[in-house]
């Protein structure tokens, strides 16, 4: 119990710092920026405390909002993703996901990939819709969501691949 708690706190701080220092300054082609900080929500233990997850993702989004002057868009997107995470699990891994030992931090299988893909797309579309807040930018929102999602997914997979536990 305690070790997972510490791992999560460590992950929270590390991802937040990396996002603020490195990834927020990555402006490919002027407007594509990846948000791999949502790995925290994706990698949170499946049967972990739900309140903890909701609060932590709210805090994560809020701190990021503070740094990027964006009101509450990250917080809203993170909270929505955290709340609907069980439904995504059910979609990706089947009904009995709670009784399986799902480890996302492992080799990428189609189930894991579909879960990550769905989470990232949901998070990013909410984020960009709230950011612009007007319909006249519809195609722009779509383009941004698409490109940034691709980027984030690539980065997430790289991070998962690099940090996956060694097994001999």
């Amino acid at each position: 119990m305690n070790s997972t708690l510490f791992v999560n706190i460590f992950r929270f701080i590390l991802l937040l710092t990396a996002q603020i220092i490195i990834f927020n300054n990555m402006n490919f082609l002027g407007y594509i920026s990846p948000f791999p900080y949502i790995l925290f929500i994706i990698l949170y233990p499946v049967n972990g405390n739900k309140f903890g997850l909701l609060f932590a993702s709210f805090l994560l989004g809020l701190i990021l909002d503070m740094f990027s002057n964006s009101g509450g868009i990250h917080a809203a997107a993170c909270v929505i993703l955290a709340y609907y995470r069980p439904y995504l699990f059910r979609f990706a891994f089947g009904l009995s996901y709670e009784y399986q030992t799902i480890k996302l931090n492992d080799v990428v299988t189609p189930e894991r990939f579909s879960f990550i893909l769905l989470s990232v797309v949901i998070h990013h579309s909410i984020l960009f819709i709230l950011e612009t807040f007007r319909i006249s930018f519809f195609w722009d929102i779509l383009l941004r969501t698409l490109l940034s999602s691709i980027f984030t997914i690539l980065l997430c997979l790289i991070v998962i691949y690099l940090t996956k536990p060694n097994r001999r």
Binding site: F58, D65, N69, S70, G71, G72
Partner: protein, 274 residues
């Protein structure tokens, strides 16, 4: 009573979700309305301090371009000094008071965003140095933005590249006024709207700040006309303006503290009340 408690216990997860979602959505909506002092901004001790640390490191990467800009500005100032009789390039003087009374605060950009629709800069001087909201921010090449929020040591600036920003500007040679806005597309270009069709405009004309706002003094450089569109519905021109400034690479900036500002605002307020 029992049932209410049961309901709360049963749906506690959903209730917490709705509560947090409500908070974040209200913060979002608040941030979309122009000029409200925000709780969540990068002008507080924590965020400002972190950005200053980061900037201390990343500053070294830009030293060369910053030096070049400063040298260029020095050369321009020197040419004004040596050719003092040539008043064509000097900002217009008030015939009674001399130069327009304004103070200038030097500051440094410690965080710059240009990848979203509502971009803000963070600078490292705040209310202790006399910075207040609605002051103009410029650098050696042209205007940068308007101060939004301040804290004791830091301030946020609404960048020109913000779809909420609206600045009074005019065509240098003909004095036709319009408003400067951004359409959210390219970081090198902004749009000048509501220029009447009467105005004779050509590609390459210089755009400067107009004298109608109390935020910026008149005749500060903004950019040159790049493309001209005619709005069919309103018979006004919309111009694409190529900025003199590279908004993606900003170093030292100057904050303009107009002494006339409060007098003008008070006067206009009194007129409205009467």
């Amino acid at each position: 009573m029992q049932q209410i408690f049961n309901f709360i216990f049963k749906n506690s997860n959903r209730l917490l979700f709705l509560l947090l979602l409500g908070i974040s959505l209200s913060l979002t909506i608040q941030s979309h309305s122009y000029h409200k002092s925000k709780i969540i901004s990068s002008a507080n001790c924590l965020t400002g301090g972190v950005y200053e640390r980061i900037n201390n490191v990343s500053e070294y990467l830009n030293l060369k371009t910053q030096n070049a800009a400063l040298a260029q500005e020095n050369a321009a100032l020197r040419s004004i000094l040596f050719n003092a009789k040539d008043t064509a390039s000097v900002p217009k003087m008030d015939s009674i008071k001399g130069l327009r009374p304004a103070n200038i605060i030097v500051s440094k950009v410690i965080h710059n965003s240009y990848d979203s629709y509502e971009n803000y800069l963070t600078i490292n001087s705040g209310s202790l140095q006399g910075v207040k909201s609605d002051m103009g921010v410029i650098n050696s090449q042209g205007i940068v933005g308007i101060i939004d929020n301040t804290s004791p040591k830091y301030a946020t600036v609404i960048s020109l590249l913000n779809i909420k920003s609206q600045i009074n500007a005019k065509i240098k040679k003909s004095n036709h006024f319009g408003s400067l806005v951004w359409n959210g597309k390219s970081t090198g270009f902004v749009q000048l709207i509501d220029i009447p069709r009467l105005a004779a405009i050509r590609k390459g004309d210089t755009i400067v700040t107009g004298g109608q706002s109390v935020i910026f003094p008149e005749n500060l450089n903004i950019g040159t006309v790049d493309k001209i569109y005619i709005d069919n519905q309103t018979n006004y021109y919309t111009l694409d303006i190529k900025l003199f400034n590279d908004m993606t690479n900003l170093g030292h900036v100057y904050i303009i503290k107009s002494k006339d500002r409060e007098e003008i605002i008070n006067l206009e307020k009194r007129e409205k009340n009467e």
